[in-house]
Every structure is written in structure tokens, then in C-alpha cells.
């Protein structure tokens, strides 16, 4: 309650460190996850400089080659350089993963806030839509949206985002209902603070940390779904460098060229493990609702 005074400008950096960085750093596995993710982010950011080939350049003369000096991780059946594709694949996976979760979060939180704050008939209608969305498993939902929207990277982001709206909306509404009944909201209202300011200054900050924890854990699901859908052929379209597509492409050559699906598969698995470690760490550090495993 006295935070309002502590949060004056010079202290903000120190307070941020105390509130966010230190609890997270105490989770050792989360730090490991974070380091791995940062390595992936680095690879993704600098993909254009780190890559040795154009990721979509085909060279049928050099198809199905094992790792060599010219192609560090070998080539696929179209003669595309796997190392370069792997780097750009990291870029794509991270962009799709974070973008879809961010979009789903924004829409879901907006719906949840609206439902929780307005109440009445609006709330009923909004929450029934959310119930309808939550009645389906995410993958089935995303597949249905892909069928409606059509294939492609951008549509994949929208489809995944739509399938994440439900959980965010339900969570936000629950938290808002809890916060709404707190005395400090009533106090602000009595003081004549405008509704939007109340939402922005007093409601949002109090619901934000469980939502961000949820978002952190969703990113790994998003990337899993993204690569899975692309693997099924209903996500990103070839020749886009995507890990799911690469794994699918290498499936037919598993006996003669196991590295084609093996390398992107390992890259994907490590990234997902790292994201899960970080997600669990975030949850243990910031979400008061979950108990820590003994």
C-alpha cells in the first residue's frame, strides 16, 4: 500500500530488480531455461549474418548431403542448406510463438476486463463465447481456424492467437472480479477517479502477474502447435524455413538422411524444454495461486 511512495523515479530500477529479477534468479532451472532461450533469440536476431546460404535457395545437385565444410549441417532433399534453414527456423518459431501469444493475450485480457467490469448481459454473452472456445482442445480450434483462414505464416499467428483467447479471458475475468471487490477500488471510485484510470492504474497492475505467468507458459505450447501444424501441412507453407516443415520433409528420408528431420527436431525439443523450465520458474516465482512442488 505504501508502494505509491516507494515507486518514485530514482528507485524504479532497483524496485524492478527486487520485484522481478531476484525472485526469478532464485529459480535455478529457470535461469538455465532463460540462458538457452537467449541463445535462440541471438541466433534468430542474427540469422541473416550467421547463415551461410539463402535458406530457400535450392541446389538439386547438392541434395541429401551429410554435414560438410560447404554445408555445416548437411542439405535436405531439395539441396537447401540445413544450417541456414535452422537459423531462420528459430526466427520464425520465436516470432510466431511470441506474436500469437501476445495477440491472444491482448484480445483475451480485453474480453476478460470488459466482462468482469461491465457485468450483466454483456458479461453473460462474452463468457458464453469464451466457454464455447474453451470447449475445444486448442489444436482442434487452431486447425479449424486454419481451415477457414487458409494456410500461411500470418494466418497461423491469427489461428493460434484465437485459440489462446479463451484461457486469457477467463483468467482475467476471474481476477478482475476478485480485485473489483477490494476496498481500494471503491475508495478510488469514491474519490472520483475516472473508470479508465481505475482500470489502468488499479485493476490491471493487480491482475497482470498471473496473466504474464500464463503467457510465459503458453509460448511453448504456441511453438509446439506451430511446428505441429506445419508438420501436418496445415501451417506455414514451403519453402519457408520452418522446423515442423523440415521434420515433415525429412520423414521420407529417415533411413538414408536422418539429419534432415533430426537436427530441427533436436533444436525444437531443446527450445521447448527451455521454455518449459522458464515457464515453471515464472510460475513458482510470481504466481501465488500455485503451490511449489516439495
Amino acid at each position: 500500500m505504501s508502494h505509491a511512495l516507494d515507486l518514485s523515479a530514482p528507485n524504479q530500477a532497483a524496485s524492478w530488480r527486487r520485484r522481478f529479477l531476484q525472485p526469478l534468479m532464485r529459480q535455478r532451472s529457470a535461469v538455465v531455461g532463460l540462458v538457452i532461450i537467449l541463445a535462440y533469440v541471438f541466433a534468430a536476431l542474427f540469422a541473416p549474418w550467421l547463415a551461410t546460404h539463402d535458406p530457400t535457395a535450392q541446389d538439386l545437385g547438392a541434395a541429401l548431403q551429410g554435414p560438410s565444410a560447404a554445408h555445416w549441417l548437411g542439405t535436405d532433399s531439395f539441396g537447401q542448406d540445413l544450417y541456414s534453414r535452422l537459423l531462420y527456423g528459430a526466427q520464425l518459431a520465436l516470432i510466431i510463438g511470441f506474436a500469437s501469444v501476445a495477440l491472444g493475450l491482448v484480445v483475451g485480457v480485453a474480453i476478460g476486463l470488459a466482462a468482469g467490469l461491465i457485468g450483466g448481459r454483456t458479461e453473460w454473452v462474452l463468457m458464453r463465447i469464451v466457454d464455447g472456445l474453451l470447449a475445444f482442445p486448442e489444436l482442434i480450434l487452431a486447425m479449424a481456424f486454419m481451415a477457414v483462414l487458409g494456410l500461411g505464416t500470418e494466418n497461423l499467428v491469427y489461428a493460434l492467437a484465437l485459440s489462446f483467447v479463451g484461457p486469457f479471458a477467463r483468467m482475467t475475468r476471474g481476477d478482475v472480479l476478485q480485485v473489483k471487490s477490494q476496498p481500494y477500488i471503491e475508495a478510488a471510485r469514491l474519490m472520483g477517479v475516472p473508470t479508465l484510470a481505475i482500470i489502468w492504474r488499479h485493476v490491471l497492475p493487480n491482475v497482470v502477474s498471473p496473466i504474464l505467468v500464463q503467457a510465459g507458459m503458453r509460448v511453448s505450447i504456441a511453438i509446439l502447435l506451430e511446428s505441429g501444424l506445419s508438420f501436418l501441412g496445415i501451417g506455414v507453407v514451403p519453402p519457408t524455413p520452418d522446423w515442423g516443415l523440415m521434420i515433415a520433409e525429412g520423414r521420407g528420408f529417415i533411413t538414408i538422411a536422418p539429419w534432415i528431420s533430426g537436427i530441427p527436431g533436436v533444436a525444437l525439443a531443446i527450445l521447448l524444454v527451455a521454455l518449459n523450465l522458464l515457464g515453471d520458474g515464472l510460475r513458482d516465482a510470481f504466481d501465488p495461486n500455485t503451490q511449489k512442488d516439495a
Partner: protein
């Protein structure tokens, strides 16, 4: 208790209604005019209008929805225009049993491996079993099942030749052949659950073992295995069922991928090929069926609580 059950049933019916509205709107949102698709490229205005009328597409959306729902409940789901197959038969009698068999078999494998691992991890805390269980939990939960499936095909199917790599043989036709064909897919899908089950078993057992009634059981001189497996495990069942219920979506997600990797003709395979072929009525049937399945399974999980925990039975 009855009142609670009825309230729950009412809520479930509402959600089922929402599922049906969502599935119906899906077909409305789907690109392309169904009449043009059915008529092909060459048609006259008259035949277009006639088919529109026959399909009831000239009527208000609410009426169309009513017709569609009535047909759906009666099992009249239309015919696939690619395979010319009755969609109801395809989805309910062919695809659904495959998916359910795969899911049940995977869950069985996961329980048989996961529970003892979790118990060992709890009893021998910080030993190698504990480390193994934690590693399994993190790794198994994150590892994409489609990739694990490919590895298993490569090692055990192609490399060692122990298991068939593709296809489905119904265990009710030929039990051992069926199990043999399902082994790799079920391990693929089950691997995802093993770690989770082990982790929950471990943490809940640790919590339970500190309870006074455990001490009382020990004081009565009951053998160690009885204390753990009878008094301890009884209270681990609740969180276990909760987690299994919460992860049903993940199970279905894994099942879709696993079916495609191993070419099992289940629901996931059906929906995937329907999306690829742009056969929207098959996708719609698939969505509706998985939605209903998901809701019903969740309801069943909810109802199991009352059997597992006598305290819940008396409260209402």
C-alpha cells in the same frame, strides 16, 4: 448431491449447445459457396437456385441451424464428396474407436510407468530415481510427440524391425496384432503423460505422508507397502485425476500428431486430411465430435471426484 449433479448437467448441456453453435458457424465462415462447390464449374441459374432451396440455404440462419442440429442428433451428417462415404459412419464407427483405443492404451502405459516412478521418487527423495522422474517430467512434457514418433519409427521400426511402423489393427479383431501395431504410437503419446503423472504422484504423496493418519497407520504396525499403497495412494488419486482431466486437451493434441505420424485412421487423421482436402463438412463433423467428446470427458472427470473422495459426497 442430486441437485449438484443436475446443475452440472444443465451447465454441460449449455456448453454442448455452444459447441454446436460454434461448429455450425464454422461452416458458415468457411470460404466458398457450398452450392458452387457441389455443382462444379458449369451450372445454370435455375439449378443453382434449386440446389440452394434443396439445401435450405435460402432460409434464415436460425432455421438452418435448427435443421442442422436436428440432423446432427439423428446421425445424418451428410456424405463426403471425396470418398462418397457416410460421414457419421466414418467419424463415429471408424475414426473415434481408433482415437479412443490409442488414448486409453497410452494412458494405461503412462499410469503403469508413471505411478511407480512417482512413488519411488517420493520414497527415495533426491536419489537417482527422483532425478530421473524430474528429468522425465520436464523432457516428456516438452518433447514434441510427432518428433518422438519419428525417432521411435526410425529406431524400433526401421532399424531394429521389432514393431510395424504404420497402420492400425483393431485389438477387438485380433488382440495381439492390435497391441503390437499400437505399441509404438501408444508409447509416443504416453511418454508425454508419464512425467506428469510421476511428478504429481511424487508431490502429492510427499504431502500425504506427513499427515497424522499415516503416522497412525505406521504406529499400528502396518507394513510399509500397505501404508504407502493403501493409505497414501488413496489420497494421491484425487490430484492425479485432476491432472489427467486438465491435460485432456494435451492428450488430444498428441493423439492428432501421433495418428498422422503412424498413419492411424483416427479422428486426428480424419480432420487433418479434411483440412488438406478442404472438405469443410468433414472438418465440421470432426470439430463437433471432438468438442462433444472433450466436454463429456471433462464431465466424467468431474464426476469421478465423488467416487474418489467420500467427503465430497456428503457435503451437498
Amino acid at each position: 448431491m442430486w441437485q449438484a449433479t443436475f446443475t452440472k448437467l444443465g451447465q454441460t448441456l449449455l456448453v454442448l449447445l455452444l459447441v454446436s453453435v460454434a461448429s455450425f458457424s464454422f461452416l458458415k465462415l468457411a470460404p466458398g459457396d457450398p452450392v458452387t462447390i457441389m455443382l462444379g464449374s458449369d451450372y445454370s441459374k435455375a439449378s443453382y437456385d434449386q440446389l440452394t432451396q434443396e439445401l435450405g440455404l435460402d432460409q434464415p440462419v436460425i432455421v438452418q441451424y435448427g435443421h442442422w442440429l436436428a440432423n446432427f442428433v439423428r446421425g445424418d451428417w451428410g456424405t463426403s464428396y471425396i470418398t462418397n462415404q457416410n460421414i457419421f459412419e466414418l467419424a463415429v464407427f471408424q475414426a473415434l474407436p481408433v482415437t479412443l483405443t490409442l488414448a486409453a492404451f497410452s494412458l494405461l502405459i503412462a499410469l503403469v510407468i508413471g505411478i511407480p516412478t512417482g512413488v519411488m521418487a517420493a520414497l527415495y527423495r533426491n536419489s537417482w530415481v527422483d532425478v530421473l522422474a524430474t528429468t522425465l517430467a520436464i523432457g516428456g512434457n516438452a518433447f514434441p510427440s510427432f518428433y518422438l514418433g519419428i525417432i521411435l519409427i526410425w529406431v524400433f521400426g526401421v532399424g531394429l524391425g521389432w514393431f510395424p511402423t504404420l497402420g492400425f489393427v483393431a485389438p477387438w479383431d485380433d488382440f495381439w496384432q492390435g497391441i503390437w501395431h499400437l505399441a509404438l504410437p501408444a508409447i509416443t503419446l504416453g511418454a508425454w503423460y508419464v512425467g506428469l503423472i510421476a511428478r504429481i504422484t511424487r508431490s502429492s504423496l510427499l504431502e500425504v505422508m506427513g499427515q497424522p493418519y499415516i503416522m497412525a497407520a505406521k504406529a499400528r504396525g502396518e507394513p510399509g507397502w500397505r501404508v504407502v499403497w493403501v493409505h497414501g495412494m488413496r489420497n494421491v488419486l484425487m490430484p492425479l485425476v485432476t491432472v489427467i482431466g486438465l491435460q485432456l486437451g494435451g492428450m488430444l493434441r498428441g493423439a492428432v500428431m501421433t495418428e498422422v505420424v503412424f498413419a492411424l485412421p483416427g479422428l486426428g487423421m480424419m480432420i487433418t486430411s479434411a483440412v488438406l482436402n478442404r472438405e469443410y463438412i468433414v472438418i465440421q463433423a470432426g470439430i463437433m465430435l471432438t468438442g462433444v467428446l472433450f466436454v463429456v470427458l471433462n464431465l466424467m472427470v468431474d464426476q469421478t471426484y465423488q467416487f474418489l473422495d467420500p467427503r465430497l459426497r456428503r457435503r451437498k
